[in-house]
């Protein structure tokens, strides 16, 4: 199993599937947070007009106060501004990594699910081998080959999530393939590719959307972890993991330097989980 499969499994458990049409409290909060995060990513100036890299050595290491809601860092940069502007980096990295993982997963999963037993067997063994590098290990292996940096870290996270996507998509394809409407299309003499494109893929897209939502939260956490370990984005970039990494030096005196960037990572991950599950539940009960 991969992290993603666990997430997907949790999202589809029956206990979550209370068929309500109303938005629950958790969903409302998650929706507001998602809106806040998207605005921070698209128009950070709107929420935090300052410059995230502007230094002000005279007001370094200020704890949270009226002028600096999240405090300031070692060069007097305003942490609230940096955290808001950092959303852009983290979301872009998360979305890009998810796109890579999902893209590879769709290709591998479709090959395995559609091209018969030999391909299925080969792809499955290949995935099994990739699963022997749990969690971040595959990403670390990739980074040791291609060197650290934002681009390699993003690709590394994407690659290490790909096997999970592939296996879920394969399972989904196999379920859809045996549905009555596919049988009907076959009986009507449609070609294999026509059936794949017009009937099977559209019916696997909806679950993919849920997966991607759940996956983005995971990808952001992993990318931030790599930055924290010094293998992704580097300080003074206003990326959340890099900010935490910079705050580590001053942990004894300035807790706020580590606390707030991390809080935003947690909020993003929780938002992704709650929204992913909410979408999943709604789709199942249409």
């Amino acid at each position: 199993m991969s992290d993603l499969e666990v997430q997907a499994e949790l999202a589809s458990r029956p206990g979550h599937a209370a068929p309500t049409r109303r938005f629950g409290a958790a969903e409302t909060v998650a929706g507001i947070l998602a809106l806040f995060l998207v605005v921070s990513a698209v128009a950070p100036q709107f929420l935090a007009p300052g410059d995230p890299l502007a230094i002000d050595p005279l007001s370094a290491f200020q704890p949270p106060n009226g002028a600096h809601a999240f405090g300031t860092d070692e060069s007097g940069r305003d942490l609230y501004t940096r955290v808001v502007h950092g959303t852009q980096y983290s979301l872009v990295i998360g979305v890009a990594a998810t796109a890579i993982g999902l893209g590879l997963g769709v290709v591998l999963g479709t090959l395995a699910g559609m091209l018969g037993r030999v391909v299925d067997f080969t792809v499955n063994r290949f995935l099994e081998v990739l699963f022997a590098f749990p969690g971040l290990l595959l990403a670390l292996l990739f980074i040791v080959i291609f060197g650290p940096g934002v681009a390699t870290a993003t690709i590394a996270v994407g690659l290490s999530t790909a096997p999970g996507y592939a296996r879920i998509i394969r399972a989904q394809l196999i379920t859809v393939r045996s549905a009555a409407f596919v049988e009907a299309a076959t009986a009507l003499g449609r070609s294999r590719w026509q059936i794949l494109w017009r009937h099977i893929l559209p019916n696997t897209l909806a679950p993919l959307f849920v997966l991607a939502t759940l996956g983005i939260g995971q990808a952001i956490v992993w990318a931030a972890t790599l930055s924290y370990l010094g293998l992704g984005a580097e300080p003074p970039t206003a990326e959340w993991g890099a900010m935490l990494s910079a705050g580590r030096t001053y942990i004894t005196s300035a807790w706020w330097m580590s606390f707030f960037p991390g809080l935003f990572i947690v909020l993003t991950a929780v938002t992704a989980t709650v929204l992913g599950r909410s979408i999943d539940r709604r789709m199942r009960h249409i």
């Binding site: 666990v6 590098f133 370990l229 580590r248 807790w255």
Partner: protein
């Protein structure tokens, strides 16, 4: 059952061979001359003579296929090669680090199970509010990144309260924060899955029949329902173990604790390829063994599986 285990072992050998091959190809992909890497990277300006000596010593001058089979042969006899940076044998180095990480992972897994069980039993009994609080706690716990949880725990318990050491020492006190850091997010995942299956189990006919036999509520919950509810969590434990090892990279680095994770991160930073491969191989072996163990554990708990 024995046949199944044999099949799984054969599968494990295949996966190991493939892991070895993948890592061998990966090393070929590392840009630059490996002999240069042994002598301290491109900045070291090693003389051509020194490079030639290293090439001959490590076998870099042989054809690729010869190197491949030589490496497979060495791996089969347990020889993981020489570290570029430390100039020691990788096998003993990695093995000496394995114990610390395993201890961390096993303790964290056990603690996560305790948390998850407590949370699941409490939140399924306490009515609607307990159930919402429980599921909220689980979702947040599951989303906590290890590095943030670790720094937050250090701030609270080491700096503010001063009760636990921020750096992992030899004693039990030094283990508390690292284990807690690994256990809490995992408990979030295990708790969610356990609560859901506990709810399903409490509705099922075998619980009704146990109640009809006059069994106490405690007996029903702890003996019948929990046994059923722990099945999906047991099958998750293989995955959990993998994610614990991956989490150990972060936790061991933050708490300055010796172990596989920290060795791996140092090797990645120094691009010490043989050590990276050594750690990855050891992790793959332990991971495969762990999935085998969870498979056996599921069979012990679930009599239905023993029929297949």
């Amino acid at each position: 059952m024995l046949g199944r285990i044999a099949a799984r072992l054969a599968g494990a050998v295949f996966v190991l061979w493939a892991v070895a091959s993948v890592t061998f190809c990966a090393v070929r992909l590392v840009p630059g001359d490996p002999a240069q890497a042994v002598l301290g990277g491109p900045g070291s300006q090693a003389s051509p003579e020194a490079l030639a000596v290293v090439r001959a010593e490590y076998g870099f001058d042989q054809p690729v296929l010869v190197q491949y089979f030589a490496q497979l042969g060495r791996l089969a006899t347990g020889d993981l090669g020489q570290s570029y940076a430390l100039n020691t044998a990788v096998g003993p180095l990695v093995l000496s680090q394995l114990g610390g990480t395993l201890l961390l992972a096993v303790l964290a897994l056990a603690l996560a199970w305790v948390f998850a069980l407590a949370l699941a039993t409490w939140s399924t009994r306490g009515g609607k509010i307990a159930s919402s609080v429980g599921s909220g706690l689980e979702i947040v716990a599951a989303a906590l990144p290890h590095f943030w949880l670790a720094t937050s725990l250090i701030v609270v318990f080491s700096i503010w309260l001063g009760v636990l050491p921020p750096i992992s020492t030899d004693g039990v006190a030094g283990l508390v924060l690292p284990v807690l850091t690994l256990a809490v997010p995992l408990a979030g995942f295990l708790g969610q899955i356990m609560r859901e299956s506990l709810l399903v189990a409490l509705e099922s006919p075998f619980v009704l029949s146990a109640r009809a036999r006059g069994e106490s509520e405690r007996g029903v919950r702890w003996i019948h329902a929990l046994r059923h509810a722990s099945l999906p969590a047991i099958s998750l434990s293989g995955w959990a173990f993998g994610s614990l090892i991956s989490g150990a990279v972060v936790v061991e680095t933050i708490f300055a604790r010796p172990g596989l994770g920290r060795t791996l991160l140092n090797a990645v930073t120094l691009r010490d390829v043989p050590v990276v491969i050594g750690v990855v191989m050891i992790v793959a072996v332990t991971y495969i063994l762990m999935t085998l163990l969870t498979d056996i554990a599921s069979r012990l708990v679930d009599p239905r599986l023993r029929l297949i």
